[in-house]
Symmetry: C2
Subunit: 558 residues, 2 copies
């Protein structure tokens, strides 16, 4: 009997392990001569000059300038004085949405209907093989159109295939006639509960715009993407995020298809992004995680810890649920998607098994309702629950103190504030904005906040998010002095919101989010110091390199 060679055995096992685990960094690495910063346990900025990475991809040490460097290092890298920060953690985005958006038509940069129509025509011509033309990002408010666009306008440029384009906030869709035909939608179609079919003036004919729950009347006719397309989209999403310095994110509304895509990538070592997953429904949560949150998988790269619940829609499409009528549409207060009992039952079902709940609430009525629900649920579900409210855009100032109770986390997206400002003033009227995007008020009341982008609704642009968080001004520096500038936060709070606080919001503290010994070595090298730069300069910050678990996943082309 011959002994199999040791090399062969090692090869066999290495193959088996490689299928399961991403390769760790192979060596103890020192990155010296950096201008490093992280958030400490008190939320303050701490500086350092060198980072020591263990061969398992965790931070072994951080060193001050002049501190003795360890001698047992395999590789040393000169940081050339560049700024090192914790990898950006986005507390609210949609991983697969980012990937699919990158593979479909992006209208978010169009400034007019004419520009959008030209882009659609160009995309259709460039993609003759696609059975449907899909995309999104349009915003009739930005276009200054004063109305929704119509199916007829699409028909004129794409007469041969269905077209379906999602509004920038994801709360409305724009279809051409062939898409409506494929979906069997005609003048006899009725608006479903929680949604609205827009009609042509003085007619029952659908105009081509489908709001909230009505979107599914058309989207259900869109062929589902195949697994290979999903895998491509995830790969694309990681590419997009790493180029922007994002190393971890909360995925808000993970479907079973999304989850399987994450696992396929994890199983072959291709999942580098850290994903804190919130299921799209109770059924999905149960199917995937079962009796409780999953363990952290793939070396802290994936965990399903909770559920995303929608309570209302968005301000732009007047789907947000308000306490009073929309200022620009008397008689309309928006649409609550769940009844009070449905909301409580869903939250309760998740909480009883130890899952976290993250409730989308935009209007002040929706926020008040979530707060009331948490108040009641807290009587039963004690301990460290970290109830999350996603967006929390319009909160009645009288309700803000309640956000500090029961460990609630308000999960904000700074870029929504600048995108929505003019629209929010129109929808709410100037007198009802006292609790609008009220970041500092929540902090002052003793509450917790975290920051994200809601990508692909907004770009996953953390530097821009930090700039807005400290200035309440947009890319043009407007409005001068900031919009409701009393709601700005400090630089340290902004950075924490996109790093340590975002990790905390996903029960990931101690694993990643800070550059301290024992946590994963996730960081970015950037071209300027956010503590010393103006908001406009921060907005133009360039990510030079992105590292996850001690492995470089992005380097900017020279």
């Amino acid at each position: 009997m011959e002994r199999v060679s040791s090399a062969l055995k090692t090869g066999l096992l290495a193959g088996a392990a490689a299928a399961l685990l991403p390769a760790p960094a192979l060596a103890d690495t020192l990155i010296y001569n950096v201008d490093g910063l992280t958030i400490d346990e008190k939320g303050n900025v701490e500086r350092f000059a060198s980072l020591v990475i263990d061969d398992d991809g965790t931070v072994r040490d951080i060193l001050l300038r002049g501190e003795k460097r360890p001698t047992d290092i395999d590789f040393s890298v000169d940081g050339e004085g560049r700024v090192m920060m914790p990898g950006f953690i986005d507390a609210h985005l949609h991983v697969m949405g980012i990937g699919f958006a990158a593979l479909t038509l992006d209208l978010s940069q169009t400034e007019s209907l004419e520009e959008a129509l030209a882009a659609i025509a160009e995309f259709a011509e460039a993609n003759p093989g696609r059975p449907w033309i899909l995309g999104g990002g349009w915003n009739q408010e930005k276009w200054g159109l004063g109305r929704f666009p119509t199916a007829a306008e699409l028909d004129a440029i794409v007469p041969d295939r269905p077209v379906y384009l999602t509004r920038v906030d994801g709360h409305a869709g724009w279809a051409n006639s062939l898409a409506m035909q494929a979906a069997g939608v005609d003048a006899s179609a009725v608006s479903p509960a929680g949604g609205r079919i827009e009609r042509l003036a003085g007619s029952e004919t659908p105009s081509g715009i489908f709001v909230d729950a009505a979107e599914s009347l058309v989207t259900r006719a869109i062929p589902a993407p195949r697994a290979v397309e999903r895998d491509l989209a995830l790969s694309k999403a990681q590419e997009v995020l790493f180029a922007q310095g994002v190393t971890a994110a909360a995925d808000m509304g993970t479907s079973i298809e999304d989850w399987q895509t994450f696992r396929r990538a994890g199983d072959r070592g291709a999942l580098k992004l850290r994903i804190m997953s919130y299921a799209s429904s109770l059924e999905t949560m149960q199917l995937i995680a079962g009796p409780g949150p999953t363990p952290w998988l793939y070396e802290d790269r994936l965990r399903m810890g909770g559920i995303k619940i929608y309570l209302d829609g968005a301000l732009g499409s007047r789907g947000a649920w308000l306490k009073e009528d929309y200022a620009d549409e008397p008689g309309n207060r928006g649409i609550p998607i769940l009844t009070p009992a449905q909301l409580r039952n869903t939250m309760s079902r998740a909480a009883m098994d130890g899952f976290q709940t993250a409730v989308h609430a935009i209007g002040d009525a929706a926020n008040a309702e979530v707060l009331a629900a948490i108040e009641e649920l807290s009587e039963t579900y004690e301990g460290d629950r970290r109830w999350r409210i996603e967006h929390a855009q319009i909160v009645d100032p009288a309700d803000i103190p309640k956000l500090a109770e029961h460990g609630i986390i308000a999960s904000y997206q700074p870029l929504h504030q600048t995108s929505d400002r003019v629209m929010a003033e129109a929808r709410m009227g100037l007198g009802r904005l006292g609790g609008a995007y009220a970041w500092r008020s929540v902090l002052n009341a003793g509450g917790r906040i975290t920051f994200g982008s809601d990508a692909p609704v907004e770009p996953a642009d953390t530097p821009a998010g930090i700039a807005v968080a400290i200035s309440r001004t947009d890319a043009n520096g407007e409005p001068f002095g900031g919009w409701l500038p009393q709601e700005t936060v400090s630089r340290a709070q902004a950075i924490a919101g996109f790093s340590s606080d975002a990790a905390f919001a996903g029960f990931a503290e101690g694993r990643f989010g800070r550059l301290v010994p024992g946590e994963r070595a996730d960081f970015v090298l950037v071209d300027r110091d956010p503590m010393l730069s103006s908001p406009a300069e921060i907005r133009n910050m360039t990510v030079l390199e992105t590292w996850i678990g001690g492995e470089r996943v992005y380097k900017r082309a020279e």
Copy 2:
């Protein structure tokens, strides 16, 4: 800045790793003084006296009696002369079905309707909290009833709750009136394609028996098990299988819920059984594995490599698709579940992405149809495909040579032969059994076979399977000399069918199935030598210990 202690760091990482990987054996282990056997590459039995297990759970070496033992061993165990065999690999079973069967009422040992009714009454009384009484394993043929049982017979003993009990072969169900009422089934219900509602004589009233596709008319009303119940069932299934020496199995018809249950166990290190998974549908296969078979996960414990496809039903319920009429029901040839085009499209869709196909075919018409489909598909899909036919119970003798073509594997369940013998004679008539359970004929024609149990349809009793494979006699030694005894196989072929050949049928050769250096150390210790025992003695073989990956997962109570 303080360095976190090495122990703390190790603890943190050990925790993360433990969530992902089952703990391997911790030491190099020698098990000496065993009467060991394995199958060699030529299919012959090879003997050995000691097994050396590496600290990673693979076989490091096997030693002959008198060969020098290695000196760098951490632990030595005296095998006390017991027989060591490769862990049993079951090429066809239903993991979750075994678990749920162990948690529900088992009627498979009942010898009469009266005995079954008494068991049902006892179970209902013992489980007052269960909203439905569920179970299976009944067989009206075994009861000598000469007819199906009825709803009325159940109503008399369980009047307060729905009852639904599956026939031993899974191809029919027996409901009481409350179950039919809950499912909305009454005299107006029509039999679906591929299924049949039994009616009371001279009436349209359903009798309580639902065959094949008609089963879903009732089963869809049964509340789905919760994730926690699924997890419990998997744990129970592993317990049942390990006590029977089964260390690996092909799971035939994995649903998304089953898969998530496997992964939850794998993620927390609780999946010990090796599962070769075949998806229950194209949609499930795509959802889970996506563009191709998954990698081997959890140290060779889980892989989705193919799809299970049903082409017909079973002989017992006359659902098997025959070339000629049933001998005991003129005019009935059974039910093909798929059209020729559907079969080819499904197989083709799987094969084009590199998935293996395992087609359930019991009747001779079904087997001929699969063979024709493989013949056509092989023109496009070349290479090592290992097309599987599951059961292959009745094959037209003229078709047997075709089983040796294109690398087809006939996946047989020896215990079905003894359970079905009398019924098969009735269904087919004596003149049409030339290709019935024709194990040796297939081998003689140059084909490949493998063995399994179809548990929970039959018990996962490998020793009994080996005994039948070499004798064609049942537990009572009947019929004397064996049924169609020319179809017995050798002891080595029987053992290979339940070990190395079953691994090959699941693309697992080289990973497990043999006790040779480099493969996983999966083995059983048993109380007798299958090479030297009579079939009756083999049937009574006792599994003393079961080891997987060098870890003991079962030890018989003294």
